[in-house]
Each structure stands twice: as structure tokens, then as C-alpha cells.
């Protein structure tokens, strides 16, 4: 979880704008389920996920590998193979329903209103086509323009994402770009049609730390210019602190905590999020042994009953009547602060955090 963490999570560098209640959601996911029937059984990759993102805001989705963050966001772009994945629930983007959308409508929607940046720019760009060619293809799919116009647009976009000498670089192949430059090109390709929704799936994981910071700045800047809604998937809490307005913590295919970035990183309410904070190494003071969360994430073939986190939770004894093992908690406000929700039966989690967890943090 903390292998690529770039900073101390509870020093939030970005001050999130106040969540205005009247901001209309551009992306609205309601009770999303994604299941894959396999020979071993039904893989419940996403179970009852709900969240929303208004324009000009960034939602970070964090969680371990296999928690359903990528699967759920691929569903937002309709990228799952119908023959392989069963999807139910609702995904509304700008008022349009994506679940069950026809192939023809999906083609117009993908890359136009909503675009995606992938994790590894090395493998996500086609090795046999020039960068310019790939950006132009995306632009010409959604705009009826000549090759010449599209090329000018590609050059303009490469310049905007900070690629020096774009007029020359536009005719180069991905292998002639460095890792960071490739990811910039990928971002240019995603943004070429001014998408209102941008999904970034771990866009900095494959990059080294200095380049990572540049790419994060770039995405923030571009979001300001383009005014889009951004969903940022990562498992790196340092990156979250850097870029997000809100955080959604995922575990076993469902959201377990949701709220503004400074609240979630500063005083989270779910024992899983506490575990995440404890697993981050301190960058100052005496080296301390790390406190990993015991156990491992559950198999999505057999998600635990009740609260999916209960086999690993050290606080489950505080909850009466075996609720943790039998009753799935709802994602609701647990404290006086109604702007944040959590999926946990524990009473007064803010007090537990302050008195028991905070002193243990490095």
C-alpha cells in the first residue's frame, strides 16, 4: 500500500474548495455492481458503489489492488466486454445513462464527453503509430475535420501539456519519448476533445517521483483550464493529498469511506483507513517498525459476510450483537459532520481515532 508514497498524508498541501451543495453532479454512480462469471464462481468486483463528482472537482478513489477501483472506472467508460462482465446499477454522465448504452452511442461518448488516462503510458500507446497519428485519430473520431486541422490540434495539445518542440515531436513514435513525456502525450490525447469527465487510472504509478509531481501539477492545471470533473484512481495517499478535493476509500468492491480530502486524511472514521495511515513510514524522527494491516484483502469470489473488513478489523469486538459479521453497514454519516460518510458500525469513531489511533501514528 505504501510502496510509492511520496509524503506524509495528513499534511494536506492542497486546500480543497468548499463543497458547495448546489454544485450539480456531472458523474453520478448509483448502486453500481460489476460481476464476472468465471469457472471458479462469480467474481463480485464491484458491489453497490455510489458516488458523484461535479464539474471542476477531483475525486480520488483509493484502495488496495483488487478493491474494484479500476473495474468501476472502466465501467464508467463502458470499457467492459459485455460478454464477460455483468453490470447493473446506474452510471449517469451529464444526464446520460451509460449502463446498457448501445455500442453506437458508446462510441460517441467515449473519448468525447469522457476520456481516460491509463497507468502505463509505455503499453497504453500503440507502438506502431506516431504520437500525432494517435492524437489525430481521437480528434477526428469526434470532430469532422481534415487531417491538417487535426494535426495542428495535436501539435497545440502537445504544447499545452508541456512537451517541448511539439511540431517535431508530433511525428515521433512512442518509443522515442521518455516515460514522463509519453504520459503527457497520453494526457494530450485524452483531453483533445475537451472531455467534461476525465478518469485517470493510476497515471503516475509507472513514473519516477519527480516526473510524478510534474504530471500531477499538469493534471491539476489542465483541470482548472478545462473545468472538467476528474476521477483520480490511485493507491498512493501522497498523491491523493496532492490532487484531490474528495476521497472515496474502496475495500472489497465497495466504498467504505467518503468525504473531503483533509478530513479523510486528517481524521478518518473507518478502521481500514486507520490501518492505511499506520502503514505509511514516517519520514522524520527515529525509524519505527511499520504497522501493516493484518491479513490480506478478501477474495472477490467469497466476500466476507456483514462488513467485508471484519476479519481484519481490531475493533470488531466493540460492536455489540455480532453486527460486524452479520450485518453490512450502510455508507452514512457517523458523526455530526454530514459531509462525510463511512461504512462502519463502530460508535463515535472520531473519538476512538483521537484517543487510540492518533497516538500510534508515526
Amino acid at each position: 500500500m505504501s510502496d510509492q508514497t511520496t509524503g506524509v498524508p495528513h499534511t494536506v498541501t492542497r486546500v480543497p474548495r468548499e463543497a458547495a451543495a448546489n454544485e450539480e453532479a456531472y458523474l453520478e454512480v448509483t448502486d453500481l455492481q460489476v460481476q464476472f462469471p468465471t469457472a471458479d464462481g462469480l467474481v463480485r468486483a464491484v458491489q453497490g458503489l455510489s458516488y458523484s463528482v461535479p464539474l471542476r472537482r477531483t475525486l480520488a478513489i483509493v484502495g488496495e489492488s483488487g478493491s474494484g477501483k479500476s473495474v468501476s472506472s472502466m465501467a464508467v467508460l463502458g470499457l467492459h466486454d459485455r460478454k464477460v462482465a455483468r453490470i447493473s446499477g446506474s452510471i449517469k454522465v451529464g444526464g446520460r445513462e451509460v449502463v446498457g448504452m448501445s455500442d453506437k452511442d458508446l462510441e460517441g461518448y467515449r473519448g468525447g464527453d469522457a476520456a481516460m488516462i491509463f497507468q502505463d503510458p509505455q503499453s497504453s500507446l500503440h507502438p506502431y503509430f506516431t504520437i500525432g497519428n494517435q492524437i489525430m485519430e481521437s480528434y477526428r473520431t469526434h470532430n469532422n475535420v481534415s487531417k491538417k486541422v487535426a494535426k495542428e490540434r495535436a501539435i497545440d495539445m502537445l504544447g499545452r501539456v508541456g512537451i517541448p518542440n511539439p511540431r517535431r515531436r508530433v511525428d515521433q513514435y512512442p518509443h522515442e519519448f521518455s516515460g514522463g513525456m509519453r504520459q503527457r502525450a497520453m494526457i494530450a490525447m485524452a483531453l483533445v476533445n475537451d472531455p467534461k469527465l476525465l478518469i485517470a487510472d493510476e497515471p503516475t504509478t509507472a513514473l519516477d517521483v519527480t516526473v510524478q509531481a510534474q504530471i500531477l501539477d499538469l493534471i491539476s492545471d489542465l483541470q482548472r483550464d478545462f473545468g472538467s470533473a476528474v476521477v483520480f484512481i490511485t493507491h498512493d495517499l501522497g498523491v491523493v493529498a496532492e490532487i484531490a478535493d474528495d476521497i472515496l476509500v474502496m475495500y472489497a468492491g465497495t466504498a467504505i469511506e467518503h468525504g473531503p480530502v483533509n478530513k479523510i486524511l486528517g481524521e478518518p472514521l473507518h478502521p481500514y483507513a486507520w490501518g492505511l495511515l499506520e502503514s505509511i513510514p514516517a519520514l522524520t524522527g527515529e525509524p519505527q517498525p511499520l504497522h501493516p494491516i493484518p491479513g490480506s484483502p478478501p477474495s472477490l469470489l467469497a466476500v466476507p459476510s456483514g462488513c467485508p473488513f471484519h476479519p481484519r478489523c481490531e475493533f470488531k469486538d466493540r460492536v455489540p450483537d455480532d453486527w460486524c459479521t452479520t450485518l453490512r453497514p450502510d455508507l452514512i454519516p457517523r458523526t455530526a459532520d454530514l459531509g462525510r460518510t463511512s461504512r462502519c458500525h463502530l460508535k463515535e469513531p472520531d473519538k476512538v481515532f483521537e484517543t487510540e489511533v492518533l497516538p500510534r501514528l508515526p
Binding site: E107, M116, S123, S124, H126, P127, Y128, H175
Partner: protein
Amino acid sequence: MLLYILRRVLSAISVVIVTLVASFALFFFAPTDPAGVICGPRCTPERVADIEQSLGLDQPKVEQIALYMKGIVVGREYSTGGVVRHCSAPCLGYSYTLGQPVTKLIAAALPVTVSIVIGGAVVYLLVGILSGTIAAQVRGTSLDRFMVGTTLVVQAVPYFVFALLVALYATFLPESGYHPFLDNPLTWASGLLAAWLTIGVTNAASYTRYSRASMIEALGQDFVRTATSKGISRRRVVYRHGLRAGLTPVVTIFGIDLAFQLTGAIFTESIFGLPGLGLLTLRAFGQYDLPVLMGGVLIGSVVLVVMNLVVDIVYTFLDPRVRLG
């Protein structure tokens, strides 16, 4: 690039020379008796000696090799019974049994083999790549299983059995035979149709499997997902992005296959009665016609080396990451 090609051509020439020397040694040191074959059943020792002298077989072996090489580069003279025949470069000698220059025999046989192989290749590439691509897209369905099963059945039948079945039972096809393309392209094509279909269908089975495997891998690549996320149509994703990447490994196999087939489609030529390289060398084998055999070896090694070079050069156009040098 040019320098690379030059270097490759030089190394190709040395490979061909080594092959020639090796096979020359193999054939001429073997206990063969070409003079006896030429002379026939009623023969006197004097006549055999006479023939041996005219063929240069009485010379030391090293000298024979040198003469042979010299013949290829600048030509050489043959004297039979006081008559001197000049064989101009590239001279591969005279057939012991047919009395004609080997170059002339090869020049007559090569177009036949090339016609058979190229036509067959067009069929199996089209059928194989298309059905492989379709099978990859419907992977796991009954259509996919049917296609893979069919390829297995076709591949399980020995090639000559398949060719015989076509020759015997596919009587609705036009009669086989070779007519030069330049005389009449239509009769050329109709005479070769049966051979093309036979080569095409049998090889299409393996090309279906290559392309299917290659396309399944290509369609699972991240860049195919990226292409989909751009909103381009499924067909464009498969045929522009997937096939482009999936075809590259197939090209390598095709280059090797083509080179191999060009050295002589022996079964096809014998069964359909097409006088190509395979038939020529096969006949030469039976009759100790060493100059013709050597000619076959030369053509074979040149074709192989050239095809390898062609594949490498084609690769630089297919994959921009490949740089020669």
C-alpha cells in the same frame, strides 16, 4: 540502412558459398557414378573414361570445385570429343542426362514453382489471417471451437494425401498444367488453380492458428483498450490497432515458410504434374545428375538467405522500434 543491407548481402554470399562447397563435397565424394549413368547399360571402360574426362571428373576434387565456382562467376569451357562448348556465366554446368545447361533448366522450372507458391500464399494468407482474426474475436464461442477444430482436422491429414484427394476427386476444377503467364494469364491461372487451393487450404489451417493466437494477444494489449477508450468503432480497433500488432509475428513465419516452399513444392508438383524446381531436383536425385542437384542447392540457399533479409527489412517498416544497423 544501406550499409546494413550491404553487410547482410556480403554475409549472404559467404553463406551461399559455404553451402555450395559443402554440398559439392557431399555429392562428388559420394560413391556415385555419373559417367556410368550417362553411358547406359552397354558400356565399355574406355567410353566411361572418355565421358569422365569430358565432364572433368578425372581432375582432382579441389580443382573441380574451383572450376565450378569459376563457372558461376565468369563461365567455363567444356570439350566433348574435340568440340568445345562455351558455357557463359553464371554457368552451373550441363545436365548429365538431359545435355542442357542447368541454368536453362532452372530458368524453365523456377517460374512454375514461383507461380504455384505465390498463388498458394495469397490463398492461405487471405483465408488464414481473416479466419484467425474472426476466431480471436469470438474466442471461446462454438464458432471459435469449430474453426480451431477444422484446422486440426486439416492439419492431421498428410499433405500428399490431401493433394491426391484434390487431384482425384475435385474434377470440377480446371485441368492442371503449367502455361506461361505471359502467354495467357487466364490459362496460367486455371492450370494452377488446383495446386493453389491445395496449398492454400492446408496452409490456411496453420495460418488461422498463428493469427488467432497472435490476435488474441494483440487484442488484450493496453493500447487496444486505449483505442477503444477513444471512441473509435470496434472494427477499426480490431483491424487498425489489433491486426497491425498481431500481424508482425505472422510475417516472420510467412517469410520462412515462403522460402522453404520456393525451394520446391515436390508433392504439389508431382501430383499436379507441374514441372517446377521440386520435380527437377527429384528427377536429378534419381539419376545422379549432380550438376542439376547442385543448381537446386544453389537456388535453395539463395532463396533462403534472401527471404531472411527481406523479412528483416519488412520488419523495419512494420515496427518502427526496429532499427537496422
